[in-house]
């Protein structure tokens, strides 16, 4: 019951949805339409897992007074306030959630968090990007051509440089990425089939039950 029924559900829906792709019969389309709605609803509940883990981690840290517990208060209060504001006033353009939480808090924090990566990348490139072998030299040259060719300065240095960069991207890069795409797609399909057929059962979680 605890393992076999979920495995059967997964197998049943997996096979039915695969077959459904090729059967445009009204019953098939009706079933597809109904289950599509259900999946959207059930997917929305998956947020519970993330929020639950967040609450458990920070309340536990707070309860045990672990290092940095004061910051857990910041995270919990911020989550509570934005949830209450969001649920009370909605998500409209005029809502305080958009005007007092999204624009002045979420936007700068999220954008700055990723912006500082530029500095780390500069430092890492300086310290670690070495042309030790022929292959790494090739990587370096391709990177330099793309970096210069993709910005206006490249065209100012040599007017054909953007074309060369575009050629690198459209021909050798495209070929390499296509081969990787084949590998990823075949691997993904094989894994999906293993999950549907119950060979891969990692998603059931640990334990004997």
């Amino acid at each position: 019951m605890k393992r076999n029924v979920p495995l059967a559900i997964c197998l049943g829906f997996g096979i039915v949805m695969m077959v459904q792709f090729f059967v445009p019969h009204p019953i098939s389309v009706g079933f597809y339409d109904l289950t599509t709605k259900w999946v959207r609803i059930v997917s929305a509940f998956a947020l519970v897992l993330g929020v639950g883990s967040f609450l458990m981690y920070h309340t536990e840290k707070l309860r045990r007074r672990r290092t940095g517990w004061l910051y857990s208060i910041v995270a919990l209060v911020a989550a509570a306030v934005s949830t209450v504001v969001g649920l009370a006033w909605g998500v409209k353009q005029t809502s305080p959630l958009q005007n007092y939480i999204f624009t002045p808090l979420l936007v700068p924090l999220n954008a700055s968090m990723f912006a500082i990566l530029a500095f780390y990348m500069a430092s890492a490139a300086y310290r670690a990007f070495r042309a030790r072998t022929k292959e790494s030299a090739l990587l370096l040259i391709a990177a330099f051509i793309v970096m210069l060719g993709m910005v206006p300065l490249g065209a100012a240095i040599w007017h054909r440089l953007p074309d060369l960069a575009e050629w690198i991207l459209s021909v050798p890069n495209m070929a390499a990425k296509r081969a990787i795409t084949f590998g990823v797609a075949l691997g993904g399909i094989a894994t999906a089939l293993k999950v549907i057929l119950g060979i891969e059962r990692g998603w059931l979680g640990g334990g004997k039950q």
Partner: protein, 209 residues
């Protein structure tokens, strides 16, 4: 220089500086901003998921329009809460079985068509490429690249003789591809930094137009 008079712009600017302060070293101001970001993101996600997902897709049809069939996704969704109750935590397998089985079943034919069939079609040397010498040449180079890179990822046989030559050629394509990716990564990270600098210099300090 026209420094902003908006309190919200000042808040956004101070939080930006807070995140950037991590570049110097880890500090309490950064930690405050980091935890604020996590909390606000969670709250925003809850509000948006409620108003754009759960409420219109489940609450309205089930409780306001009286459609009883929606009890099924509701029960499946509520099973996610069981994750935090050890005795019945196995119940989470039911919504997961449904969404995984459904998702995999739908994804297999779609991804096969997008990432395998269409990509093979794109690799084939069709009569259209003979129209111009450069198109023909680039198509052949791409074709060789795709085949050789696929061979590089072929591990069922030892890379000797012709297979070694093919896989070594594949490495050349891969290095150029990774170089192109690196060049683009530099571009991406720098853009994010420039975006923040534009905010500081234009919206906050009014130094630039």
């Amino acid at each position: 220089m026209h420094v902003s008079h908006s309190l919200l712009t000042w808040v956004a600017a101070i939080l930006t500086i807070g995140i950037f302060s991590f570049l110097w070293k880890d500090n309490p101001f950064y930690k405050f901003c980091e935890h604020l970001f996590v909390g606000v993101s969670i709250g925003y996600g809850i509000a948006v998921t409620w108003y754009n997902g759960v409420y219109p897709d489940l609450v309205t049809p089930l409780f306001r329009q009286g459609k009883p069939l929606y009890i099924i996704p509701l029960v499946l969704g509520l099973c996610y809460f069981c994750r935090f109750i050890p005795r019945v935590s196995w119940l989470i397998r039911f919504p997961m079985a449904f969404t995984i089985g459904w998702g995999m079943g739908v994804a297999i034919p779609a991804n096969f068509q997008t990432s395998i069939v269409k990509q093979i079609q794109g690799t084939l040397l069709t009569p259209a490429i003979f129209a111009r010498w450069d198109v023909l040449l680039w198509a052949i180079i791409s074709f060789v690249g795709v085949i050789c890179t696929v061979f590089y990822f072929f591990f069922s046989r030892e890379h000797k003789g012709a297979l070694r030559l093919a896989s070594q050629t594949g490495v050349v394509y891969l290095m150029v591809g990774f170089g192109a990716s690196f060049g683009y990564t530099v571009m991406a990270r720098m853009s994010l930094l420039i975006g923040r600098l534009q905010f500081i210099l234009r919206d906050w300090l009014g130094v630039i137009k």
